[in-house]
Structure formats: structure tokens, C-alpha cells
Subunit: 344 residues, 2 copies
Amino acid sequence: MTHGAAGRSPVMADVARIAGVSHQTVSRVLNHHPNVRPATRDRVLAAIEELGYRRNLSARALVTRRTNTLGVVAFDTTLYGPASTLFGLEQAARDAGYFISIVSLKTINRKTVGEALDYLAAQAVDGLIAIAPQVEAAAAVSALQGNVPVVAVEGGEADGMPVVAVDQVRGAELATRHLLDLGHRTVWHVAGPADWLEAEGRQRGWRATLRAAGVEIPPVVAGDWSPRSGYEAGRRIAADARASRATAVFVSNDQMALGLLRALHEAGIRVPQDVSIVGFDDIPEAEFLTPPLTTVRQDFAEVGRKSIALVLDLIETGPRPVAERIVVPPVLVTRASSTAPATT
Amino acid sequence: MTHGAAGRSPVMADVARIAGVSHQTVSRVLNHHPNVRPATRDRVLAAIEELGYRRNLSARALVTRRTNTLGVVAFDTTLYGPASTLFGLEQAARDAGYFISIVSLKTINRKTVGEALDYLAAQAVDGLIAIAPQVEAAAAVSALQGNVPVVAVEGGEADGMPVVAVDQVRGAELATRHLLDLGHRTVWHVAGPADWLEAEGRQRGWRATLRAAGVEIPPVVAGDWSPRSGYEAGRRIAADARASRATAVFVSNDQMALGLLRALHEAGIRVPQDVSIVGFDDIPEAEFLTPPLTTVRQDFAEVGRKSIALVLDLIETGPRPVAERIVVPPVLVTRASSTAPATT
DNA sequence: CTGAAAGCGCTTACAG
DNA sequence: CTGAAAGCGCTTACAG
């Protein structure tokens, strides 16, 4: 603030005056325009440094019609998966020089998702990323399909929208096959909420694997992702355990597996001696549960990076003739909660 | 798009033309200026509706010098606490009509925090909220103290900056006193990382409570918030258990308590019969651990709301003569992991 | 209660 | 390689 009118922050014209050039030349330097003489460039840079000048991004956005901001719609970023994805998105966006404006929803339906998208549209974001793991949310996002590029994270296949997702079906196959390979006659399944695409994909992968193996397909036990619902599922399975002779359970996420572990423990059923358990996500706690949980790890950071890369590419090159679907492979992490069945 | 030049989105002048007024009148309607005749207002509103007009926020920001955006600096939003706080912040900001621009850091030091603040400053945010739970981060934030109002969430007391925080000392007192009241001779402590203000506050509260009770103060066991570090602390405590005769442990967060539970279980030490455990946070999993975990609940949503309210107030009314400190009380949640010591 | 004028701080052709 | 001009879409005094 040693130059320029006191009290106001410096503008391009202040820099220009000090550098002895016009403000257009300052603009050229800032935008890495090739045609600037090195000596001029250095003078401008020095003046910028001296004044602590920062470009006014609102003014810039007004003329370029680019805000350099990406909107993110998310649901319950308190859950490990969405939180991790968001973290990955944010890192990748910043590396690319974009700002992230986020709205996270408490409840998902066409109305709330629509409002969120409106909210971000009002901000004139350059692109939109929707962490839209529910059928409803995906539908709401695809209904929008406005002027701005949209990428769905964990979105469904149907809606003709670019998607970046972990291969849920594949993950469920890994989990189910692992248990079958250990020698279990079949594998039970505690599912996530019916309207979540991930829950649906995992159930599909589980079912396909059992069918391919030609084994009996037990009835699905419903859950809602919460430890509590896993606990309740566990009580039900424990009650049926002797009758059903369940020896292996693939649980659709780690939090439910944690609740299920608790219920089996209460019922005096040992894991893995009596029942083997496999979860999904590999939350940081998974390794330290009793027993340590075999699970399927998702690379959320990678999903975030790929989503940003895709939306930026869409911004640059315009929409594709056919919507892309980028798939990130999951990895099975084997721990103590799964073993061969007792030979009875 | 039925009016105006095809291909471009409608601007204020388009609305004005359709409503038969000048664009200033449209502006007045949008800004809820009192002096607009109701009939005129209705015509303008109808035109806005008809065109699907949205105000260009960049143009608005250019003249008002307000971006209606709040910047948030956070650290590892993958952790339950920061994720929950962020969620609360975002809800509260949106309710107040503000956008949130977030940058989350992987590592915290003066440099990374400084860069984050620069990044947000470049965006000309109207206010800044720093989830700055480390000593270093708090220092970096207070070093800034630029032109824009800053509120520190979980910040320290020293830096003369407005702070919103859960009363960590009080929470630790609740936990420690609970264990003493159950009849334990003293209480051990697994601390969080030394440079975290929350870890420091909880340790302070624990120590003060023991001192006030006139009981022996055991050496602190160090952790880093992770389940793994809790596990390692648990192994150390288990190894010393007979020698040290530890019967009660206050663990500085739930994730470490989870790891500690695992270690004690491996060592054949029963919780709570042999050792009582109390955690901190009340993560969703806490209720379903084996055994269900007694812990101290923090109201992160409330912290978020209060932080937004404070920063907005600072934006409106300017800085206070003396920096405010708003404290949110924690609550003890009693579950099965804590009980009276065995009478030996 | 409403309109004509000026200006916010940039970028983008257009000259030279 | 660099500058004078116009304009992005709003809001804010200023008139009336």
C-alpha cells in the first residue's frame, strides 16, 4: 500500500502506472500472453510484487464468462465415502486452478437436488460435479442437463450422463468369491438402502457371483448404511444362524459390518470361527475392529481426480457424442474376519 | 429463451424491456428496494419468471465489492470432527444466502495454511473461517489477520482472534470425573497429537480434574488420533496393566478408543470389568463397539452455525474491540464401556 | 416512484 | 511488441 490511493486495494491501472505501461500490458503479462517483451514483463511483475496486487476475479469473470469455479453437490459429507470423495475432488480442483463451491444435502430428492443445482447455477459455475449415489439424485441431475457440463460421481448407467464410479459390481464379486473360495457353501448379504446405486451394484455383484457358482442364494437382509442397521441385521442373522446355517456374510459397508460384529458378539457367535464377515469401503477403523475386518477398498481420491479431469475436459472440448463412463477398480483387503468354515 | 437474442442468457435489460421499465427498476425489485410500485414490481417479477432470468453475480460483485462467498480452510475433512463441522458450516452459510468455498489441507504448517488463505483471498471472499485445530494453523491464521474478517473454529485462546469452539477442558472434566465418581482410584489418559489444541485442552481438563481430586496423575500415553495409535497405546497399557493397576482410561477420541479396545481384547483384558474406557466425539460407530463406548459428544452442527453467525456479524458490524470467544458445551454420553472397578 | 448517467476492474478485438 | 477504445452486466448516487 505504499502506492496508489490510500485505503483501496491496488488495481491494474496502479500496476501499469508504476511499471510505466498501459493496463492492457499488465493484463497480457497476467494471462501469459506470448507477445510481451521480457524487460517489460519483468517491470510489470516487479510492480505487481511491490503493490501486492491481486487481480479482481469478479471483473475478470464478467468479461470472460468463466468463474473458474466448479460446483459440487454432495449428500451427507459426514459419511466416510462422500467425505473422502469430496476431499479428493477438492485437491484435484485446486491443483487445476479451480475453486470449489459445495452444497451438501441432508435429504435427497428431486426437490432438494434441484434447489442445490439452482443454487450453484446462480453462481455461474463452469462445471458441476454431483455425488449422486441415489437413484433419485441421479435422476434429478440428469433432468437438469443444462448449459453447464455435469459429471456424476457414482451415478447410474442409464441416464446418458458422464459418470466416474468405483466398480461396485466387481467389488462385490471380489468379496463374494473370496468367501466361496474359502470353502463356504454360500454367502449371505446385508444390503445398503434400496435407492442407493452402490447398494444396488453390490447386491447385483453378490447375486451374480452366487449364481455363477451355482449355489443357493439366501434372502437379502436390508440395512441403511448405519452401524445400527448392521446391528439389527446381525441380530436377525444370529437368531436364524443355526436354522439358516449362515457361515459367511458379505456386508455392503464397513459401518454396518461393525454393528453386525457387535450383534454376533452379543449372541455368542464367534467371528471368524463361526461366521466370516467381509465389509466394503475400508474405513480407517476397519483394521482395528475385533476381529480386523476383511473388506473392499475404494480409491476415493482417484475417483475425485478422475471426476475433475473429466469435467475440465468437458469444459474445454464440449460434450461428447456418447457419455463417458470411467470406472475405478476396487481392491480386496484380506484380514482376520474371514476364514475357512469350520468342518462340521 | 423465448425472448432476447437467441443463444445468450437473458440480462437485466431483457427483463426491463419485457416489463416495460428501465433496468434500474429491475435492479430495485431484485434488491427489495422499498420504493417500487406493487404493480410495477409484479410486472418485473413476471418478466423475470418468463425469461428464467438470473442475475449475473460477477457483475454484481464487481460493483458491490461483495462476493457473498465465505472461505473455509480445513484440515483432513475425512475425519469425523472436521467433516461434521464442515457440514454444519455449509448448511448455516446456505441458510444465510452465502456460498462456501473450501480448501482442505493435507498437511498443516504456516506455509500450507498461508497458501490456502492466499488462494481464498484471491477469490475475494467476504469472510474466512479457519478450522484451525493445531497450534501452527492457528498461528498462521492469526498472522494473516488481513482486511477480511476471520473466525477460527477450535482455535486457541492466545491469538486475539474470534473463536468458536467446543469446551474441550470441560468435556475432559466430565469424562474424568465420571470415572472417578464410579470409584476408580485414578484415570489414565491417551492423548491426541501434541500440536492439536483439542488434544491439549482435553489433557488439561483431565489433569486438572485429577489434581482437584487429589489423586495420583499417571504418565500420559501419546497418540495421534488414529485407530492404530490407540491400538498401540492399548498394547502398552495392557503390558503395564498389572504393574500399573490401570482400571480406567480416558482416551482423547473415539477412533483411538476403538483401537485401544482391540488391543485390550487381544490381551485378554475385559472392558469394562477390568478396565473402564471413555472416549471423545461420539462418532456414529461408538454406540456399536464392543462394548458400546461411553464418550463425550460434541455438537459440531452448532459449532458450524455459531461460526457462520459470528463471521456474518463481523462482516456487518466490523471488528470487535476485544475478540469474542464462543463456547459450545459438550455432553457426556454414558454407555457400557465404563463401570465401577472390581472390588479386589 | 422511476429513469439517464457513470463507473466497478477487467479482457478483447483493433490499430499501429 | 504495445496502447486507445469499447464493453461485460450490474449498482449507485443523482435528478425529477
